[in-house]
């Protein structure tokens, strides 16, 4: 399906029935329970311990956030852990026989992998800018490929190719049986799920690197609706719409961006009561506010009638700014900038060239 088609395939916002809402609630409860399960696994795993294929520990580690203050050593070890896990999954003799916990595990592995890549970029950039810690700069210079963008893209593209996920999604779209094209790897849930979420992961990575058209292109095969696989994991659903909406916005397709943001914001407002108390509620609430800011920017640039719930929420959260942006003129520019800065994903430099000549930068 071309972009135009997908752009025109409007998500139908009025199709909620009580049954669907019920299903969303159940999905959500399942996710919360899953998270609880993960924290038990955490206690049994240890970072950088013997790599003797203590697989369960590796699987758990891959889906577990690093501590905020993790040392450079831990970051390197975590990268090695991902490499050996993905190497095992991708390059063993035939598909590996692994019990996969579930969708949430697959999403969290990819999500955490990219999150660590992102925070590593930020960290490397900070070391390059301040140049205070010579020892760390030295280590980073010696390991340019650790958390390098070629390595990260390689993992994501390999998972997509191995699982034949694009072929599978296309078959589904044509109304054929995806299993017929899934192949030896893609017919297993482990590969299928990792492949699928790698597509969403690439969307995010391309956005973080400032390549918005490629980010959208990656989603060519993915259907944007509630029946899509990403919709089964709240965080994935949410993330996908945020990055797709943002990419459309950067492509100046404000109408499409507004549609994407509206869809997910309506969804979140309807499931809000079930998320309170969930462990990623705060992160979702923050992203939610960011999307309200972005939708306010889009509507100021491209006047559109919003869904009533969204409109009143925008007025409530950003009333003053919204008014000033709609009024326009030079006074509106700082407001646009302020909201954009606080709501856009952080775009990164993918390489460490600045590390090589720290002196030249000043």
């Amino acid at each position: 399906m071309s972009y135009e088609d997908r752009a025109n395939a409007r998500p139908n916002l009025n199709d909620e029935s009580d049954n669907e809402e019920e299903a969303m609630v159940n999905d959500y409860r399942e996710q919360v329970n899953f998270d609880d399960g993960m924290s038990e696994l955490d206690q049994t795993m240890s970072h950088g311990a013997s790599q003797a294929h203590d697989l369960q520990a590796q699987l758990a580690a891959a889906a577990t956030p690093l501590e905020y203050q993790a040392t450079l050593e831990t970051k390197f070890a975590s990268y090695d852990n991902y490499c050996s896990l993905f190497h095992y999954i991708l390059n063993s003799d035939g598909p590996v026989d692994l019990e996969v916990p579930n969708y949430y595990w697959a999403w969290e592995v990819i999500d955490e992998f990219i999150y660590q890549f992102e925070s590593f970029c930020r960290y490397r950039n900070r070391v390059a800018c301040t140049g205070s810690n010579e020892e760390e700069s030295q280590l980073l210079r010696e390991n340019p490929n650790t958390w390098g963008c070629y390595s990260v893209l390689n993992v994501l593209y390999s998972l997509i190719q191995r699982s034949q996920i694009s072929e599978q999604l296309n078959a589904t779209k044509r109304g054929e049986d995806p299993m017929a094209v899934a192949g030896e790897y893609g017919s297993r849930p482990l590969y299928k799920m990792l492949g699928y979420f790698s597509i969403i992961g690439l969307l995010r990575v391309h956005c973080l690197l400032g390549d918005f058209s490629l980010a959208l292109k990656i989603l060519d095969d993915v259907e944007m609706n509630k029946k899509a696989m990403f919709a089964r994991v709240m965080a994935a659903h949410f993330t996908t719409y945020y990055y797709v909406g943002f990419s459309y916005m950067m492509m100046r397709r404000y109408g499409d961006a507004i549609r994407m943001f509206s869809h997910i914001l309506v969804y979140v407002s309807r499931t809000k009561n079930f998320q309170k108390g969930g462990n990623n509620y705060e992160a979702i609430a923050k992203k939610n506010d960011q999307m309200y800011a972005l939708i306010a920017i889009c509507v100021a640039l491209h006047p559109t009638r919003l869904d009533d719930t969204i409109h009143s929420a925008v007025r409530e959260k950003y009333g003053e700014q919204f008014y000033r942006m709609q009024k326009g003129g030079p006074e509106a520019l700082p407001v646009f900038e302020e909201l954009f800065r606080s709501s856009c994903p952080e775009v990164h430099q993918p390489h460490s060239s600045r590390l090589r000549q720290p002196r030249l930068q000043r």
Partner: protein
């Protein structure tokens, strides 16, 4: 409208690279560079392929060719108003970003020629996008560096002039010849009349140029009506009949 990842004039070998993983292969850099040179010559523009080259530069900063980058940016100006210019800008190294934050501005006191070129082209882009056409031409003619930056792009001025004319046609029904002369940077009334009639297909009416109606410049009254079907109230009605628990 053509989808953003397509281009009618794109050769098959470029299409093949773009659709495969070779788009990340540093060895394809030269292929894309030749393609940029071709676009400069034959007045075509392939945004999606040029972004792929900028991405290769982003991943392999040692390969970056400032001349090719500035040619891509200059070409992007010839397709305004489109997101092409800003999409290209987003893939350039931070050190060349023309919109520095205050802290970066202080540290960027020493700028290279490359950075200056990017800033100059961005200035042109801003003027075009804010419809400051007369100022665009005076800026373009104010400094020899601008001539250098656009020298490789065949027909740069002509291409931009046509895009400005399209924007004018979308906005106006009639416009004074004097205004249009400065916006299109046409020196004489004769040349203007010729351009307006031959290229745009508009009419000259003394000192006023008349633009025939088109989809954009036509005044339309908006009919606001809402259709609310009974099925949209289905749930409300159903709830109304539910027995109290």
């Amino acid at each position: 409208m053509v989808a953003f990842d397509k281009c009618e004039t794109r050769p098959a070998h470029i299409e093949a690279i773009l659709n495969g993983l070779d788009r990340y292969n540093p060895e394809t850099t030269t292929v894309f560079q030749d393609y940029v040179a071709l676009q400069c010559e034959d007045r075509t523009f392939d945004c999606y392929a040029n972004l792929a080259l900028l991405k290769l530069f982003q991943f392999n900063p040692h390969l970056i060719q400032p001349d090719t980058v500035t040619n891509i940016l200059a070409k992007a100006l010839t397709v305004f108003p489109s997101p092409a210019f800003s999409l290209c800008l987003a893939l350039l190294p931070t050190s060349t970003q023309p919109f520095p934050t205050t802290s970066e501005a202080q540290s960027a006191s020493q700028t290279s020629d490359f950075v200056e070129s990017v800033q100059k082209l961005t200035r042109l882009s801003t003027l075009l996008e804010s419809a400051q056409y007369a100022q665009f031409w005076s800026t373009l003619n104010s400094d020899d560096l601008y001539a250098d930056l656009t020298a490789d792009v065949a027909g740069f001025e002509e291409l931009v002039r046509i895009r400005i004319a399209v924007e004018v046609g979308n906005t106006f029904r009639s416009i004074t010849a004097e205004n249009l002369e400065s916006w299109l940077d046409v020196r004489s009334r004769d040349a203007l009349n010729k351009f307006v009639v031959d290229v745009c297909g508009w009419k000259v009416d003394g000192d006023v140029i008349r633009v025939p109606t088109n989809k954009e410049n036509e005044a339309r009254s908006e009919v606001k009506s809402e259709h609310v079907g009974i099925e949209q109230f289905g749930r409300v009605i159903r709830r109304g009949f539910e027995l109290p628990a």
